[in-house]
């Protein structure tokens, strides 16, 4: 035996053990896949929810699985679902159904990663606009982009004014009378702001535009502003209402003193904690969603609050709505079955009188304590909803002032640019004109590049299709 010949030095028995181990491991890998033994079509459904919100979706999925014997949906809780869907779709192995955030739907749709749902509706013999009539109008248009429907809302959320009644009472404001205009909001805010008499440090504020900080891009909406003009071009810097919105933001920093506000803010705890400023009574009025009730019960059970439409500068009705969108990624092996499940998520039992009779979207919305995006609510859902103020949110979402973030392939970037501009303006680093001018310039370039890129992709796809077509000789 030559000295360097390692392979023949390894005893045969060990090699056999290695072989067996490899086989066992590969067997394990195979058995990790969802079992297909029950003869049903297995669908994988990736959702962002965790904790109680995931349990609510699981209950909905279980109800669907029990309602028929052809399809089994396997719910997979997926953190950073947009990132993972991106990679899985690019790799050719996407889930059959996925729950995206609204902001990602348009950019995924632009890149051809989602199946348009209109084709399924038409295949069922229903025109899409008729099919979508089941939803409250603001939700019917939410998943639409470029004239097609790429996602459907599974839970409804509207953002409204939440105010702390106890703090109102303390300063002699009527606890049942919220501010109705932005001017009133400012006035109430002044009365609700307290400072430490010794140090002058702020200890309580009536309102702080950056609390919560998730809607830094929404400032123009309070002033009737627009992100795009009629021809679909970026219009933030040339839109007087939007500019006014950001000027108002700057005035807030000037009025209360930037350094004082910064110090006051730096002590805030995270939203899901009792140190969250609304829960700890540090901020009296917030722009918050229907979900707040869930967290208030957990972190501030004694909190006494009311909800009202968000006051705007014009006094026109206004409500910002959001939803969690269910989509069918391109590349699914079972589009028909996926559509069947999506239809279940777009339905309810209009006659449900008990919790057990609830179906489809009402199960998840009931358990997550949100509004149902459907126009018609079942008697049980309406009367026994766990959110005590749900009727208010339902009315708000049906009001003519209900809007949602624009569906645009560059919206992620646009809203991020706006959030940065809003920070710079609030921190008095840049004037509204300068900061918005930079957003305008940057987004105009990004928007034109995006369209160029889509055009390039179209041409490349066309070229590929035409080269694949057999040439017909006369």
């Amino acid at each position: 035996m030559p000295p360097g010949d390692f392979s023949s030095r390894i005893p045969l028995a060990i090699r056999r053990v290695g072989l067996v181990a490899a086989l066992v491991l590969s067997g394990l890998a195979v058995s990790c896949r969802p079992a297909e033994s029950d003869g049903r079509i297995q669908l994988s459904y990736w959702e962002k929810w965790t904790g109680a919100e995931a349990a609510a979706m699981q209950a909905t999925v279980d109800a669907f699985n029990a309602s028929q014997d052809r399809i089994r949906v396997n719910l997979v809780t997926t953190s950073q679902v947009d990132r993972k869907l991106l990679v899985a779709t690019a790799g050719g192995d996407p889930p059959d159904v996925a729950g995206l955030w609204l902001a990602s739907v348009a950019s995924f749709a632009d890149r051809g990663a989602l199946l348009p749902l209109d084709d399924f509706m038409r295949a069922d013999g229903v025109e899409p606009y008729v099919w979508l009539e089941r939803y409250t109008p603001v939700y019917a248009t939410m998943g639409q982009h470029g004239g097609r429907t790429f996602g459907l809302p599974t839970t409804g959320t509207a953002v409204a004014l939440h105010w702390n009644k106890a703090l109102f009472r303390e300063v002699g404001l009527d606890p049942e009378r919220p501010p109705r205009t932005l001017a009133e909001l400012e006035e109430f805010s002044r009365r609700l702001t307290k400072r430490d008499p010794a140090t002058g440090a702020i200890t309580q504020m009536g309102f702080l535009p950056q609390e919560p900080p998730w809607f830094l891009w929404a400032q123009p909406l309070w002033f009737g502003g627009h992100y795009f003009d009629e021809s679909g071009e970026i219009a933030i810097a040339s839109d007087p209402q939007s500019v006014a919105g950001y000027e108002w933001l700057r005035e807030q920093s000037r009025e209360y003193g930037l350094a004082d506000v910064q110090r006051f803010m730096s002590g805030f705890g995270p939203f899901a904690s009792s140190q969250s400023p609304f829960f700890s009574g540090k901020v009296a009025m917030v722009f918050q969603g229907v979900w707040l009730n869930n967290f208030a019960r957990q972190y501030a059970p004694a909190l006494e609050y009311g909800v009202a439409p968000w006051p705007t500068v014009t006094g026109d009705p206004f409500a910002l709505t959001e939803a969690d969108m269910v989509v069918i990624p391109r590349g699914t092996k079972h589009p028909e079955a996926s559509w069947e499940f999506v239809q279940y998520l777009a339905s309810n039992n209009p006659l449900a009188r008990t919790r057990a009779e609830l179906q489809g979207i009402e199960i998840v919305c009931y358990l997550q304590e949100k509004t149902s995006p459907l126009r018609d609510w079942s008697p049980f859902f309406t009367e026994h909803h766990p959110h005590p103020l749900i009727a208010f949110f339902r009315e708000l979402e049906s009001s003519p002032g209900a809007v949602h973030a624009p569906a645009s392939g560059v919206w992620q970037e646009y809203s991020r640019e706006l959030a940065t501009a809003s920070e710079r303006i609030r921190l008095l680093e840049a004037t509204p004109e300068r900061a918005l001018g930079q957003v305008q310039a940057r987004m105009t370039t990004a928007w034109s590049l995006h369209r160029t890129s889509l055009e390039r992709q179209r041409r490349a796809a066309d070229a590929e299709n035409s080269s694949n077509e057999p040439t017909i000789q006369p």
């Binding site: 010949d5 950056q210 910064q262 110090r263 730096s266 002590g267 939203f271 991020r416 920070e423 710079r424």
Partner: protein
């Protein structure tokens, strides 16, 4: 080749194959693919379309690209020298003969084994402007001048220094390497220096530093490359800063480092081609600066052999 030799080569390749296959699949292929994508319009979700040098040409005029590059340079310019001073200083102290030396060495090394996500969450609380440990201890000092300590992560002027401070907490790894270097300095050099009546400072400057210069050089280069690639801490802290608005690079882009900008360009804006071009430019910048450091080191670093 004789059959025995061939078998030996094959056996060698066989044993290294997990590494070769792993490197080729998970490193070499992605690196080469990113070079190709950098010349393409590529969204990850669609086929790459060749566009030549367009991505590289656009980079020069991209304002945020320059902001990110400047942020990264400022961070590295602060974190690298301070890191060298802190870790070398600690190593010098821990090289002294005092009681309980192993305990001190362990204590100062300990932070380096804390996962970066965990330590980021910890530092988030330390930097809390009102209740944070840091400001609690700084407040009396600032009060002497009637001022107040900064809001750290909430303040664009202090967010980068905060990240530098945090980086100094993790100098344990380079400290250990310095310590090993210090123990290699021959005793007799110190003894003869002492006989010549040389003071502590000159002993450090003329004996210790030249003798450990290869170690300093190594740590400097590794620290520099690490600082340029700062990502995780900034990713976590910037999303949580400013009251948790989730905007990367917050507040007001002061912590928008190169890798963070690259990440959001690729995975949020779906412009992987452009992000690949950014990655290659960054690679050239780091390689160029490392080469420059190497050229300087040739004159300054003494290898004893």
């Amino acid at each position: 080749m004789k059959s025995a030799a061939r078998r030996r080569v094959l056996a060698g390749l066989g044993f290294t194959s997990p590494w070769i296959i792993g490197l080729a699949t998970f490193t070499l292929y992605p690196v080469l693919a990113s070079l190709y994508f950098s010349f393409c319009d590529y969204s990850i979700l669609q086929q790459p379309v060749w566009i030549g040098l367009e991505n590289y040409q656009r980079l020069a005029g991209d304002e945020v690209f320059w902001i990110a590059l400047r942020n990264t340079a400022v961070y590295a310019a602060l974190a690298v020298p301070l890191g060298v001073i802190a870790s070398l200083g600690l190593a010098l102290l821990l090289n002294c003969n005092v009681r309980g030396l192993p305990i001190f060495r362990t204590l100062f090394y300990l932070p380096s084994i804390v996962p970066v996500v965990a330590s980021s969450m910890l530092w988030l609380w330390i930097f809390n402007g009102e209740y944070g440990l840091l400001n609690a201890s700084l407040a009396p000092l600032f009060a002497l001048w009637g001022g107040a300590p900064p809001a750290w992560l909430g303040d664009p002027a202090w967010a980068k220094p905060a990240l530098v401070l945090m980086s100094l907490w993790g100098v344990g790894n380079s400290m250990v390497i310095y310590l090993a270097g210090l123990q290699d300095v021959p005793r007799e050099l110190y003894e003869s220096a002492e006989l010549d009546g040389v003071g502590v400072w000159r002993r450090f400057w003329h004996v210790t530093l030249p003798m450990i210069s290869p170690v300093v050089y190594f740590n400097f280069i590794m620290g520099f490359i690490g600082a340029m690639q700062i990502f995780t801490q900034a990713f976590i802290l910037s999303a949580a800063a400013n009251n948790g608005d989730g905007t990367l690079g917050s507040p007001a882009r002061s912590t928008l480092f190169y890798t963070i900008h690259l990440y959001s360009t690729a995975f949020q804006d779906l412009r992987m081609g452009y992000a690949s071009a950014m990655a290659w430019v960054f690679f050239l910048i780091i390689a160029g600066l490392t080469w420059a450091a190497n050229a300087v080191a040739e004159r300054r670093v003494h290898y004893s052999s």
